[in-house]
């Protein structure tokens, strides 16, 4: 297990190094400095003295900058097994075009008992490997009404053909074995601001982990349809329905959800 965690952490350190490198690339360009000296000689007649700078000092402004993003894709109220529940599903990242540090969290909060029923946080290194795809690796930590668990995470996230947003990951640890999760969603544009979003989430466990609340087979899987209105792009309330397609709840339960999507 420890080895696995180490494995997952490795890319994080290499990412930090890469980010650091890209941020300072500008300052360590030897060739352009030479070029400038040549020009100094060639244009000695010029009225002004040459700046002592190296070339490309502003390279970070032209493609090398870091960005960050934060989005709560789902932040909603729903009823699960008769309980009032707030469900959250948010992610954010920090990084450049190729290397990012990615944070994901999702879970549910029980209103009756004022406690987290289930919550998880993932910290991932994300690398752009293709125009529409990132490979991700890192750690996941779960806590809540069952024993806490840590996983190593290996996943792929991106945009599939026909504009399907896809996030697929494998979670591994010693207690729970292997789990797979696939999430896919699609934004059907009804108007320029009104979207109908079908969403599929599948969780599959290959092993039992009673203490961790995990049963072998399909669990916590559902199909949902959300109607979202983008008041502004950054803020969009929605209503929807969600139907379990496996797992511990009654399979015929159709839940109403209402929430808001926001990003910054």
């Amino acid at each position: 297990m420890k080895r696995m965690l180490l494995l997952a952490l490795l890319p994080l350190t290499s990412m930090a190094a890469e980010i650091d490198h890209s941020a300072h690339t500008a300052a360590v360009q030897p060739a352009p400095v030479e070029a400038q000296h040549d020009h100094a000689a060639m244009t000695a007649a010029a009225a002004t003295t040459l700046p002592a700078s190296s070339m490309f000092i502003t390279a970070h402004e032209h493609g090398g900058m870091l960005n960050q993003f934060l989005m709560a894709e789902r932040f909603e109220r729903q009823q699960q097994d008769g309980d009032d529940v707030t469900v959250w599903d948010a992610q954010g990242w920090l990084g450049g075009d190729y290397h990012k540090l990615w944070l994901k969290t999702e879970g549910s909060w029980l209103h009756d008992t004022s406690e987290v029923d289930h919550g998880e946080v993932q910290l991932l290194y994300s690398r752009a490997v293709a125009p529409f795809w990132d490979l991700q690796a890192g750690l996941r930590y779960d806590d809540g009404n069952v024993a806490s668990r840590s996983y190593a995470v290996f996943g792929v996230q991106g945009l599939a053909p026909y504009w399907f947003e896809v996030d697929a990951a494998a979670f591994i640890n010693e207690e729970s074995g292997l789990q797979l999760r696939v999430e896919a969603e699609y934004d059907l544009r009804l108007t320029q601001k009104l979207f109908l979003q079908p969403r599929l989430q599948l969780n599959h466990a290959f092993d039992d982990d009673k203490a961790g609340g995990i049963r072998q087979g399909l669990g916590d899987s559902n199909l949902a349809l959300r109607l979202r209105y983008e008041v502004v792009r950054e803020f969009a309330p929605y209503v929807g329905v969600e139907q379990d397609i496996g797992g511990h709840r009654q399979p015929d339960e159709l839940r109403l959800v209402a929430g808001v999507r926001f990003w910054y």
Binding site: I57, G63, N67, D97, L159, R233
Partner: protein, 573 residues
């Protein structure tokens, strides 16, 4: 009332006074123009102070940049042959710069931080000194960060020593620009993270059903699946739109209606400058033919047209002659048709002509994707001529390969020369529309050598990640400039692998656009390259030093679509 109208009207009611008081003399309308010409700062020595101001515009606290207290910046009116001294004082709390767009000058005076000089530190003064080797209509702007979007731009007129080959009784500068109340950094952030945020003209479910009715289910599905397979939007004509922009003429919003006065029968010279950060405009004056006499400050053989598309950073000098004592609307529609800038030419202040309605937005086509599928195999003679194979015989052209990486989402499999084609979206207008091959230099090209070699550069992008580059490499990933040998004649061939038009701007040297013309190629500093297009320019590398070359869409440049040419003595391998 949608958001755009709200902005426009609030601009009129709430902020007109605050806004107008910033206007320099040249940008004010209604009779301030004189027969002698547009008022500007004149002489050989100038002090320009760059300051950031926060002031209420349309009731909103907006940060903008003023030069000598003005937004837009003052008109600099110079005389060909003069030697200039310009002291630029930076009162901002960040470095700044001024790039003299289209001017031939020593490379250290070109004003690109990190290329020509260090930039101007906060509180510091930089003295630009250069002689004027040309005349015409140009402009100047910051080359630091995103300052241009905040108002750091102004027009330049260089009056010629010799009389010009045309006459006119009155002249106006028409500076087109785009203003946003969001910070430029916020705009860039949104493009980097949710790139389609500003597009409110995407195809909806309703469009799908309409297309099914018109084309049938199979054809519609096939078409949607083809574009969906590539994850490309046919409506992606402009990254930043009127959802956030208010388009300005000389600092005036459409409702503020900048007005230039005339007497019937007068010939009016309009010096049209696209000083916007991200906008391409379709310009027309319903009822008046436009006679183009200059492009990018260079004389062309006069060509009459009814509408022209002006790419970001291009300039056109046009002459119009209103025959009657009636108002005319100058209408500059953004190329995605989501907003417009508007001004009026009128015999008296306060008069208005009808304002055209926005035409339906065009859709990108297979051809814009660089996939021709041979349906246009019967190319026009102009297209064939434009291929201009003469260069290839002498040129050392090598197979072109560039990295395919996460920053390159598409490749134009069959890019073609489109210089003879009408600009994007104006293909089916019934009136005349200017095309590049109609531009012919007034004088024979000074250098008619066959290029000794050809360099090919691909314009590459990934809209989803908002990565913009040449040959798949962002400027931040490039380690050295592209060497050119002093005085060599070189052909640069561009292949647009992206699905957007890009205004490509070369600093320090004009280029001859390879239109198929033998001896009168138009001389330009900026070329608006169509999507899916392959086109060439010939450059005489007669200016030593480091020269920036970039897409003049500000956020494309910011995202990495930039290179530097290094013109040096000695043999370049």
């Amino acid at each position: 009332m949608n958001r755009r109208n709200f902005l426009h009207s609030s601009l009129l009611t709430g902020g007109a006074l605050a806004w107008q008081s910033l206007l320099p003399a040249w940008a004010q309308g209604n009779g301030l123009a004189t027969l002698a010409g547009v008022p500007g700062l004149q002489g050989n020595e100038f002090d320009l102070t760059v300051a950031g101001e926060r002031s209420l515009i349309a009731g909103k606290n907006a940060r903008h940049i003023r030069l000598n207290g003005h937004f837009p910046a003052p008109l600099l009116r110079w005389r060909e042959g003069d030697a200039l001294t310009l002291r630029v004082h930076n009162m901002l709390d960040e470095p700044t710069s001024i790039h003299w767009h289209g001017l031939l000058l020593p490379w250290q005076m070109d004003g690109v931080p990190g290329v020509s000089f260090d930039g101007i530190a906060p509180g510091a003064t930089f003295t630009y000194q250069f002689p004027l080797k040309q005349s015409g209509t140009y402009w100047y702007h910051s080359h630091s960060g995103l300052q241009e979007q905040s108002g750091h731009y102004g027009p330049i007129i260089i009056d010629p020593r010799e009389p010009e080959p045309f006459t006119y009784e009155r002249e106006y500068v028409i500076v087109l620009s785009d203003w946003t109340f969001e910070s430029p950094e916020r705009v860039f952030h949104k493009l980097k993270t949710m790139g389609q945020s500003y597009n409110y003209q995407q195809r909806t479910l309703g469009d799908f059903f309409r297309d099914v009715q018109r084309d049938g289910l199979d054809a519609t599905l096939a078409e949607r699946m083809m574009w969906g397979d590539m994850r490309m939007s046919r409506t992606d004509l402009a990254d930043v739109t009127a959802a956030t922009y208010t388009y300005l003429v000389n600092g005036h919003s459409p409702n503020e209606n900048w007005t230039g006065l005339f007497k019937a029968g007068e010939r009016i010279r309009l010096r049209l400058i696209n000083a916007s950060s991200m906008s391409i405009f379709n310009v027309r004056i319903p009822g008046l033919p436009l006679t183009v006499v200059m492009a990018d400050g260079q004389h062309v053989q006069p060509v009459e047209t009814d509408e022209l598309q002006i790419g970001t950073a291009e300039t056109y000098d046009i002459i119009v002659q209103p025959p009657a004592e009636q108002p005319y609307t100058l209408y500059a529609e953004s190329n995605d048709r989501y907003g417009y800038a508007r001004a009026t030419l009128a015999p008296r202040a306060g008069m208005e002509a009808a304002v055209p309605v926005l035409r339906p937005r065009p859709l990108l086509s297979m051809k814009d994707m660089g996939m021709n599928h041979g349906q246009h195999a019967a190319a026009t003679p102009a297209a064939v001529a434009a291929e201009d194979h003469s260069a290839h015989t002498a040129a050392d052209t090598q197979g072109h390969a560039h990295p395919l990486n996460a920053g390159v989402a598409s490749i134009a499999a069959n890019a073609v020369n489109r210089l003879h084609e009408r600009p994007l979206g104006l293909e089916n207008e019934t009136h005349r529309v200017l095309v590049y091959t109609e531009l012919r230099s007034l004088q024979p090209n000074a250098d008619q050598r066959v290029p000794g070699r050809e360099l090919e550069l691909h314009l590459t992008a990934n809209m989803e990640r908002y990565m913009w580059s040449f040959d798949g490499l962002k400027y931040s990933e490039v380690t050295a400039p592209i060497p050119l040998q002093l005085n060599e004649r070189v052909r640069l061939t561009f292949v647009n692998d992206t699905m957007m038009p890009h205004p490509l701007h070369l600093h320090g040297m004009f280029f001859d656009l390879v239109t198929g013309d033998d001896s009168h190629k138009p001389r330009k500093h900026t070329l608006l390259l169509k999507p899916g297009e392959k086109a060439s320019i010939d450059v005489t590398a007669d200016a030593l030093g480091l020269w920036a070359f970039h897409c003049h869409l500000l956020y494309h440049m910011q995202a990495g679509m930039m290179r530097v040419f290094d013109v040096r003595e000695g043999v370049v391998s």
